[in-house]
């Protein structure tokens, strides 16, 4: 019997298959989910809605906690479809025995994070489950926003791919915070709300094609999805992708690729070449975007492949994160 494995939840190849096979085929929504939030019209308003559950371990980590993550994550999903985040709901599943003191800290961070973007938390729910039925605290958030900048969504050969900062910070910070690996690092999660940053970019260019926040599965998986969903080929320059030295070091030791590690405060954008500099300047004017960089180019508009140019001058094709990374060298 086929059963759910942890790899079904990592945002990679298996997760993609699960969503396609179980959900998309059953819910039969013609508007295949290519974006971080769904957009729809209600009366005269163009709206965006998204929902997300947060199950991070540990609940507190350098640079944030599950509450901040839940609010920022939902705000980001709205922001990257060109929406102004307006309201949030949240739902808590709490394990019996969870310290109320911790819960207060989490809720406090949620309030603070929401305030930064002027988002109202308007409804909520709590459920308590028996000890052992859940691991501490899970949070679900749903967010609604109003579309202010409908994105073009049509890419052209020569368009630039921009990332707002270094990749892999969150993934490594959480691994270190678990304390299981004996890894020592001062790296902090990049967990933050990106609405204000995105708004700056949208002001700078009216023609941003597409934005995504590369969370689970990392930058590579997110870009693979874009390539496949829109039938474009993107070529990344490995040397241009910002990766912090400490993240690189940890990845080398663990045998991970930073391009597949989760980010919680980064946005990747596809913009026309002519607007590249304006968008970069706008991003770099904000603290969350100070390391923004052009990392690649849209190549052909039909193959649907993500390619990576290595410093040695060869090209590798990148795929979604796969749960199993088994050696292929014979």
């Amino acid at each position: 019997m086929e059963r759910i494995t942890l790899a079904h939840g990592d945002g990679g190849e298996l997760a993609h298959k699960l969503i396609t096979d179980v959900f998309v085929s059953t819910f039969r929504n013609e508007r295949h989910a290519k974006f971080d939030a769904a957009t729809f019209a209600l009366g005269t308003h163009e709206l965006a809605v998204t929902t997300d559950s947060f199950v991070i371990k540990p609940i507190f980590f350098p640079g944030g906690n599950i509450g901040k993550l839940a609010v920022a994550g939902t705000i980001n999903d709205l922001a990257v479809v060109g929406a102004i985040p307006k309201v949030l709901t949240c739902s808590f599943i709490i394990e019996e025995g969870f310290p109320i003191r911790h819960l207060k800290t989490v809720v406090q961070s949620m309030a603070e994070e929401a305030k930064k973007t002027n988002v109202a938390i308007v409804a909520g729910d709590t459920k308590v489950v028996e000890r052992g039925s859940a691991d501490g605290l899970y949070i679900n958030t749903t967010g609604i926003g109003i579309i202010s900048h409908p994105l073009e969504r049509n890419m052209d050969e020569g368009d630039s791919v921009i990332v707002s900062g270094s990749v892999g910070d969150h993934g490594v910070a959480v691994l270190v915070a678990r304390g299981e690996l004996g890894l020592v690092s001062t790296i902090e999660s990049d967990c933050t709300s990106l609405y204000l940053l995105v708004a700056k970019a949208l002001e700078a260019s009216q023609r941003i094609r597409l934005m995504r926040d590369p969370t689970r599965g990392g930058l590579a998986t997110t870009l693979v999805e874009i390539c496949e969903d829109f039938g474009v080929t993107i070529e990344l320059e490995e040397e241009c992708i910002p990766v912090k030295k400490e993240v690189k070091g940890a990845c080398e030791l663990l045998g991970f690729d930073p391009l597949y590690l989760a980010n919680e405060g980064k946005v990747v954008m596809i913009v026309p070449k002519e607007d590249e500099q304006a968008v970069l300047d706008a991003l770099r004017s904000q603290p969350e975007g100070k390391d923004a960089a052009v990392i690649g180019t849209v190549r052909a508009t039909n193959k649907g492949q993500l390619l990576l140019r290595t410093p040695l001058g060869t090209t590798r094709r990148l795929y979604r994160l796969t749960g199993l990374m088994l050696p292929r060298i014979c």
Partner: protein, 759 residues
């Protein structure tokens, strides 16, 4: 007394002047009959005086044309047919399916003689060739093999060449690449800016090489990078510019005499060097020769070849007796063969470009072989051998096998012929995948075969899956080591069940773990796994292949626990903290796949002994470890255990304890390495002995395959030991034991599975 026989000759016997040769032979012995090409090769019927017939049979293999290669010659008694004369009759089955693609061969002695004759009009002409030598596969655009369909089409023949071409008595009759200084291709020397260097291109290139420059040379199947092999600084330059710190570089020596001065070569090795295929032969280097130590650092052997194009002959002489000749490519990318690409990609590597204007249509690397126990042992099967087919008893029509991930070679079947493609390389790179698709499509079109079944490796992350899924055909997934085993069975014509000892790098196992030290029993349809090396973790997964010290940590920790990790920290003192992290990864099961492979075992020992803790090329750690030992000796094995778990398992805890003790006691690294080698042999033999006890009725045939079988000591000793156990021992001779031979096994397995489905 009168006699009539039928003779079937299989092998490379078509398109090499075989039928005219037979015709001449029949005339000489005054026998009557016919000769004909058919799907099996060449069919001959002769009848006449019994003595003359026997003479004919005797002379045939001895005098066969230079380019022919007889795999099998079957002589059977035949009915007397009262033929009036001897005649060449048309092919039995014509059409595209019986077309042969000729191979590229080294320039012949007749041509060389002309080239060095000041009175000949092809004096010093670097593109001289004839029906028995020169470029073929590498210049063919389309079949049939005819000048207009080759890259020679843009060189109209002059009157003189045309006459030779059309004269049936001329040795250039229908030599498609025929050319002379008046009508054929020409060479030139360019500098980095693309400017032509004045003067004789070859003389100038030689002078620059002598002065220490690096020259890119356009050859038969692609570009080489050349420099003076006796100039340590030039070799160092080349290594730096190419970013190849340690990988051994091949050399080209002016003559056999020079090779003999530099290396200890046997008669068999000399024969290989001077054969029309002219491969790189890996031979033992003499001590203190003029070859720069950086050519093959840390190795006793060196890959050497002789000049195989007229251009090479003109370049090398007493003044420049030996040069480095390494194929020009970016690390991991296919060999460069297009002029523009060469000029662009080699800008920062080559100082000069010795080029010509005959386009290369199909890139082809140099073949690499070594002699082991008197047999040819392929490390890479390419120029001179591709695309010669192998013959099989099984119907393999319309089956294609996509090979492995690295050292990729594909294969496809046409009736009872198997075509192995050229060495493609590491499919990790998009450039290599494109190279695969291009070469595959060409060969497929030439053969006129549309595949119905595609065989691929079981490994879910091999690139071959993505290639296979694009095509409309049934996919058969084949376990990696089963494919290695059947590959070796097939080339030795074994079809009934036998043992297979596969010592390999890493391959995906049916249980989801990494296999590579396997004792299998079975045939092309099925196999059982009888035994293997105990699994140990590879912390960091694929990274272990580049960083063998990781594998050491995994093994020491697995076998010796706390004590093992502590020891690993001592051994890799500068990595002490990292060892801790690796330990946590292993204990948490994070990115630490389990593996029992011979390649990684060699790595682990190599790193522990500080022979190589970081590999800069494929298998460096294992190769350098094996180069430390004296393969004429027999070492004493360390203790080990073979235990009955789900299958037989080799447990090396005792070996590790003994190695650690020896290192503590200051025993020489060579001795430890030697004893380790013998342990691998003895553990394998013990596993087989136990398997025989358990299954006394099993056939005593054993095939040896997998990348670790390149190790001369291991193969030699296994052959001795298994023979003593009463086994017939079989090794590879026609395809590499590494993943370059994988496709052959995959193809045969797919063919048998198709057979099964029909029943």
């Amino acid at each position: 007394m009168q006699k009539a026989v039928n003779i079937t000759v299989k092998g490379r016997v078509q398109g090499v002047g075989f039928r005219p040769f037979i015709f001449a032979l029949a005339k000489r012995y005054n026998v009557k009959g016919i000769v004909q090409n058919n799907m099996d090769g060449v069919f001959i019927h002769i009848e006449g005086d019994a003595y003359a017939v026997d003479q004919f049979i005797h002379s045939l293999p001895v005098e066969a044309p230079r380019l022919s290669c007889i795999d099998e010659m079957i002589v059977t008694a035949a009915q007397w047919q009262a033929c009036n004369d001897f005649s060449i009759i048309p092919s039995e089955r014509t059409g595209s399916s019986s077309l042969v693609i000729p191979i590229d061969t080294a320039v012949c002695n007749d041509c060389l003689r002309e080239m060095y004759d000041p009175n000949d009009h092809r004096y010093r002409y670097p593109f001289i060739n004839c029906t028995q030598c020169g470029p073929r596969y590498t210049i063919i655009e389309q079949l049939p093999y005819d000048r207009p369909f080759t890259s020679m089409y843009s060189f109209p023949m002059c009157k003189r060449c045309n006459e030779e071409y059309n004269d049936p008595m001329n040795r250039r009759h229908h030599a498609q690449p025929i050319a002379c200084p008046a009508c054929g291709p020409s060479i030139m020397l360019r500098n980095r800016d693309g400017k032509m260097v004045q003067g004789d291109a070859i003389e100038q290139a030689r002078a620059y090489i002598q002065a220490g420059a690096i020259v890119a040379i356009k050859g038969l199947g692609g570009y080489h990078l050349a420099c003076d092999a006796t100039n340590e600084r030039a070799v160092q330059q080349l290594r730096m510019r190419k970013q190849r710190p340690n990988r051994p570089l091949a050399v080209m020596a002016a003559s056999v005499d020079i090779v003999e001065q530099l290396c200890d070569v046997t008669e068999e090795e000399k024969q290989l060097l001077t054969s029309p295929e002219a491969p790189i032969v890996v031979v033992k280097q003499r001590k203190n020769t003029m070859i720069a130590s950086l050519v093959a650092p840390g190795l006793q052997t060196v890959g050497v070849m002789l000049p195989y194009t007229p251009l090479h002959h003109l370049l090398l002489d007493d003044q420049l007796p030996v040069i480095v000749m390494t194929s020009a490519n970016r690390s991991g990318a296919p060999i460069i063969y297009e002029d523009e690409r060469a000029f662009c990609d080699l800008q920062n590597i080559a100082d000069y470009f010795l080029v010509h204007n005959r386009p290369i249509v199909h890139p082809l690397d140099d073949s690499v072989v070594q002699i082991e126990n008197g047999n040819t042992h392929f490390i890479r099967r390419a120029r001179g051998f591709v695309p010669d087919p192998l013959w099989t008893k099984q119907d393999v029509h319309e089956i294609v096998a996509l090979g492995g991930q690295q050292k990729n070679v594909f294969a496809f079947g046409r009736h009872q012929q198997i075509f192995l493609g050229p060495h493609i390389g590491d499919l990790e790179h998009v450039e290599v995948i494109e190279h695969f698709e291009r070469e595959y499509e060409h060969l497929r079109t030439w053969m006129g075969v549309t595949p119905k079944i595609i065989a691929v490796d079981l490994h879910p992350n091999y690139e071959t899956w993505n290639i296979a899924k694009q095509w409309d055909a049934d996919i058969v997934a084949v376990q990696h080591h089963h494919a290695h085993m059947v590959s070796c069975m097939e080339e030795n014509h074994i079809s009934t069940s036998c043992f297979g000892l596969i010592l390999d790098g890493t391959g995906y196992g049916e249980d989801g773990h990494i296999w590579g030290f396997e004792l299998l029993y079975g045939n092309a349809l099925q196999y059982e796994r009888i035994g293997h090396l105990t699994y140990t973790p590879l912390p960091g997964g694929e990274r272990c292949a580049k960083e063998p010290w990781r594998t050491t940590v995994g093994m020491l920790g697995y076998y010796l626990g706390e004590e093992g990790y502590a020891l690993a920290q001592q051994r890799f003192i500068e990595r002490a903290r990292d060892v801790d992290v690796l330990r946590q990864m292993i204990e948490k099961g994070l990115h630490s796949p389990l593996a029992g492979t011979c390649g990684r075992l060699f790595d682990a020992v190599s790193a522990f002994l500080y022979v190589c803790t970081h590999s800069t090329y494929d298998g460096e750690a294992a190769i350098r470890l094996s180069e430390l030992i004296d393969d004429t000796k027999i070492y004493e094995a360390y203790p080990f255990n073979v235990e009955r778990r789900e299958t037989w398992e080799i447990d090396l805890k005792e070996m590790w304890r003994a190695i650690i003790r020896d290192v503590d006691d200051g025993v020489q690294t060579n001795t430890v390495a030697g004893r380790f080698h013998e342990t691998v042999v003895q553990a394998s033999v013990e596993m087989v002995r136990l398997a025989l006890q358990q299954h006394p009725t099993y056939e005593r045939n054993i095939v040896l395959s997998g990348g670790s079988m390149h190790n001369r000591y291991i193969v030699k000793r296994l052959r001795q030991e298994f023979s003593q156990l009463g086994f017939n021992v079989y090794t590879h001779q026609k395809v590499p034991c590494n993943d370059g031979g994988l496709a052959l096994g995959q193809l045969m397995i797919a063919a048998h599975r198709r057979g099964q489905a029909c029943v």
